[in-house]
């Protein structure tokens, strides 16, 4: 076997040794084999999964919209305000993150607290918007576009609720990494909301 001579002392012919060094890992706040904190990688993967959920939702929406009997339903104007609230919430986490990097503890606490409260306000606003739709006589079962509206806003809202659970943990023991991940998640939900809301408005 010619292969045998090749491999002598090499630790296996297939030992390419490439693709990541294998680092020894670490605490979830410390880098592992890849040079980023393990917790951050975890959150990125989570965002990937959430992206697939919302993509599936959007493709279902687009497919349904393509059918000839599609009718648009009105969107409450309150959603603009809610969007602004969510953007401010996101901004507030960003501010907290910047403060955390400069170790300005009071600004950090204020930023986190404000971000979370604004997040709750957004959810309250979304619920209010549902109420407005209901009073217009548009329920979950009224027509396909209103069904989708409830579904899309509910799934987005549930993701934000999940974020608020994480927020509760972070605000008790904020570390720069935790704040960064919280801010990342909020930015992601803001971006998703932007896409979803844009889609709802356009159709």
């Amino acid at each position: 076997m010619p292969q045998v001579e090749e491999r002598e002392g090499l630790g296996g012919v297939h030992d390419r040794g490439g693709w990541g060094s294998g680092g020894g890992g670490g605490d979830s706040e410390l880098p592992g084999a890849f040079p980023l904190p393990t917790a951050k990688l975890g959150v990125w993967i989570l965002l990937g999964v959430a992206t697939v959920i919302f993509s599936a939702l959007v493709s279902a929406y687009l497919v349904r919209m393509g059918l000839p009997d599609w009718k648009s339903s009105p969107k409450p104007g309150l959603l603009w305000l809610n969007t602004a609230v969510l953007a401010l919430s996101s901004l507030s986490f960003q501010r907290a993150l910047r403060a955390a990097r400069r170790a300005e503890a009071p600004t950090v606490r204020a930023g986190i607290r404000l971000g979370g409260v604004l997040g709750m306000l957004f959810i309250a606003g979304q619920l209010r918007a549902w109420g407005q739709l209901q009073s217009l006589g548009l329920g979950v079962s009224s027509n396909p576009s209103s069904s989708f509206f409830y579904l899309i806003t509910a799934l987005h809202g549930l993701h934000l609720l999940g974020g608020l659970v994480a927020w509760a943990v972070v605000s008790r023991r904020p570390t720069p990494l935790r704040i960064e991940l919280c801010a990342l998640y909020w930015h992601f939900l803001l971006a998703v909301w932007g896409v979803l809301y844009g889609l709802l408005l356009l159709t």
Partner: protein
């Protein structure tokens, strides 16, 4: 919290269990979670098997068992399928093997997020309980077929359409949430917590299979999640995502404008990758077992890794081959037939490479190895019949006949299950420190292998005669020859025998936990890292010493010039020895 040893930067581990509760119940140790997954999955698997006996009794002896009425039959069909595919195969191959093998094979002390990992199991258990609860609600569990196609699943006229389907959907949603928590761990752990020297191209194929399958699952389950939520709203809130204007039993239903095909797309966008979610870890497990028990390096390791990646990528562009006859745009048929048959190439590469691994090996026919050979055989048959069904035009005579049933049972029902058995027999000593009984194991193997073959091989030919699947009774079909009914009786009898043979396995499993022969640390003389850890591995896996450092690929078996026929991955190579001890 963590095992810290001076001078070595160590992994994160969950808290050391202090009480009985945290050691055996609410435990964050990946090994305990793996065992919890295994026991739960095997339990529901047994339920699924009993359900299949109900079906077989009706098919073999129609009308002779009055407790199997049409509703119960369809409920058994549905729940058998769902339980086996999701709650047994997915949970066992990823939940158990993922949890047990990833940290041990990669030299990690635990998963990246042990707490989330524990939650994953508990949410899975909850999903199982919700599923089992549906057997006890009025109307019973759903009987709409495991594919849950609306509108029929949520309409009267289908068993379990009142509460059964609601619990089914809730259970699936829970399962997906639980799985996502686990999957997050598997992927992150593989990417981040590999020990020093464990590059991706030095990972055992079992880890590769689990890793890629997990990525597939993380990308595929969301589509099912969305589909389930939408169907749940259709059922509970009266929306019309999947329900057009319909009249049932003379009554106009309060729905309009939905698209039944939309659900099928969402379902199969998940459903096809699901096949590979199950089979890729099985392939990985089989690769390990074949290399170890043939005492030979796996043939063509880079090609094996590449084919896992290719199969994974291709699995996302073949889903509509489940829908050739569904009424979707027929031009899709061309596209999906081509992509489907292309998957055969990387799959064939895997089969060829396993077979070439056996060639000129030193084959020890231990119980795990026997099951691995059964896997090769049944996976091959299942794959080849897939070429019939994937070639769009042949799907027209064969779709929804017993040919399809036989095909996917060969792949998912036999190949995946024998891979699980192979894995259990192989890693049982790692988990318990004791061997399983070889004699009982071999009887179990022969009964299972020959028995399942006798069940599913003739079933293909029943399909060719045109017998449709999901028929409670087909004695009214004139084109079915009388001999098919005798064959059905034969299959039923064999199925019952195979079922009873599984009791041997259960007995062997339980008996060996307490009274098995002590195994020693590395009974199979395997080269992968899990056997470097103490057997059974303690919390933190490697004891007070630092985790092993890896110097070589996982398949250094029968290396020429070596006294022993295996070299563990953590033995330094000549080069690193010359360079002064390498990474230590």
């Amino acid at each position: 919290m963590a095992h810290h040893s001076p001078g070595y930067h160590d992994h994160y581990v969950g808290p050391e269990p202090r009480s009985w509760w945290t050691r055996y119940v609410f435990c964050q140790d990946h090994k305990v979670i793996g065992i919890q997954y295994a026991l739960t999955a095997l339990f529901v698997g047994a339920v699924g098997m009993v359900l299949s006996w109900g079906m077989r009794l009706q098919l073999g002896f129609p009308g002779e068992f009055s407790f199997i009425d049409p509703s119960r039959y369809y409920q058994a069909v549905t729940q058998h399928g769902m339980i086996m595919v999701i709650y047994l195969l997915t949970a066992f191959l990823l939940g158990t093997f993922g949890n047990l093998l990833i940290p041990l094979m990669l030299g990690a002390r635990d998963m990246a997020f042990p707490f989330v990992n524990m939650l994953s199991y508990w949410v899975y258990l909850l999903s199982v309980l919700v599923l089992l609860a549906s057997f006890f609600v009025p109307g019973g569990p759903t009987g709409g077929g495991w594919t849950l196609y609306p509108p029929q699943t949520i309409l009267k006229g289908t068993p379990g359409s009142d509460l059964g389907i609601v619990l089914m959907l809730v259970s699936l949603i829970l399962f997906i949430i639980g799985f996502t928590m686990g999957g997050l761990n598997y992927v992150t752990t593989v990417l981040q917590l590999r020990t020093k020297g464990m590059t991706l191209m030095r990972m055992p194929l079992a880890v590769w299979g689990i890793f890629v399958a997990t990525i597939l699952a993380l990308l595929a389950f969301p589509a099912l999640f969305v589909g389930c939520v939408m169907q749940l709203l259709d059922r509970v809130a009266g929306s019309s995502f999947f329900i057009p204007t319909i009249v049932q039993f003379g009554q106009l239903q309060p729905h309009e404008g939905g698209s039944p095909l939309l659900f099928q797309h969402l379902f199969w966008y998940f459903g096809h990758p699901e096949v590979y979610i199950v089979i890729l870890p099985a392939m990985g497990v089989i690769s390990e077992i074949i290399a170890v028990h043939a005492r030979k390096p796996i043939f063509g390791y880079p090609m094996m890794v590449l084919s896992i990646l290719l199969i994974g990528a291709l699995s996302f562009v073949v889903w509509a081959h489940h829908m050739y006859t569904s009424g979707m745009n027929p031009y899709f048929g061309f596209l999906f037939a081509v992509s489907t048959l292309i998957v055969a190439i990387p799959s064939a590469v895997k089969v060829f490479n396993w077979v070439l691994t056996l060639w000129r090996g030193n084959i020890h026919l231990t119980t795990p190895m026997l099951f691995a050979i059964a896997f090769l055989n049944t996976f091959l048959i299942g794959g080849l019949t897939g070429l019939f069904l994937g070639n769009v035009v042949l799907d027209f005579p064969l779709q929804d006949t017993y040919f399809v049933v036989a095909h996917f049972h060969m792949v998912m029902g036999v190949a995946a299950i024998v891979a699980i058995f192979a894995g259990i027999y192989h890693w049982f000593p790692k988990v318990t420190g004791r061997m399983m009984n070889e004699t009982l194991g071999k009887i179990h193997f022969w009964a299972t292998f020959v028995g399942t073959y006798a069940i599913f091989l003739p079933m293909h030919y029943i399909g060719l005669t045109g017998v449709p699947r999901r028929y409670y009774d087909f004695s009214n079909l004139q084109f079915v020859p009388e001999s098919v009914h005798s064959l059905e009786r034969f299959i039923t009898v064999v199925a019952l025998v195979v079922g009873v043979a599984q009791l041997l396995f259960a007995y062997n499993l339980v008996h060996s936990i307490f009274w098995g022969k002590p195994s020693g640390q590395n009974p199979w003389h395997a080269a992968t890292l899990e056997w470097v850890a103490p057997t059974p591995a303690p919390h933190g896996n490697w004891g007070p010493v630092p985790p092993p450092v890896v110097y070589r690929w996982p398949y250094d078996y029968s290396v020429p010039g070596e006294v022993e026929d295996f070299i563990p991955q953590n033995r330094p190579t000549l080069q690193t020895q010359a360079a002064g001890g390498g990474g230590e």
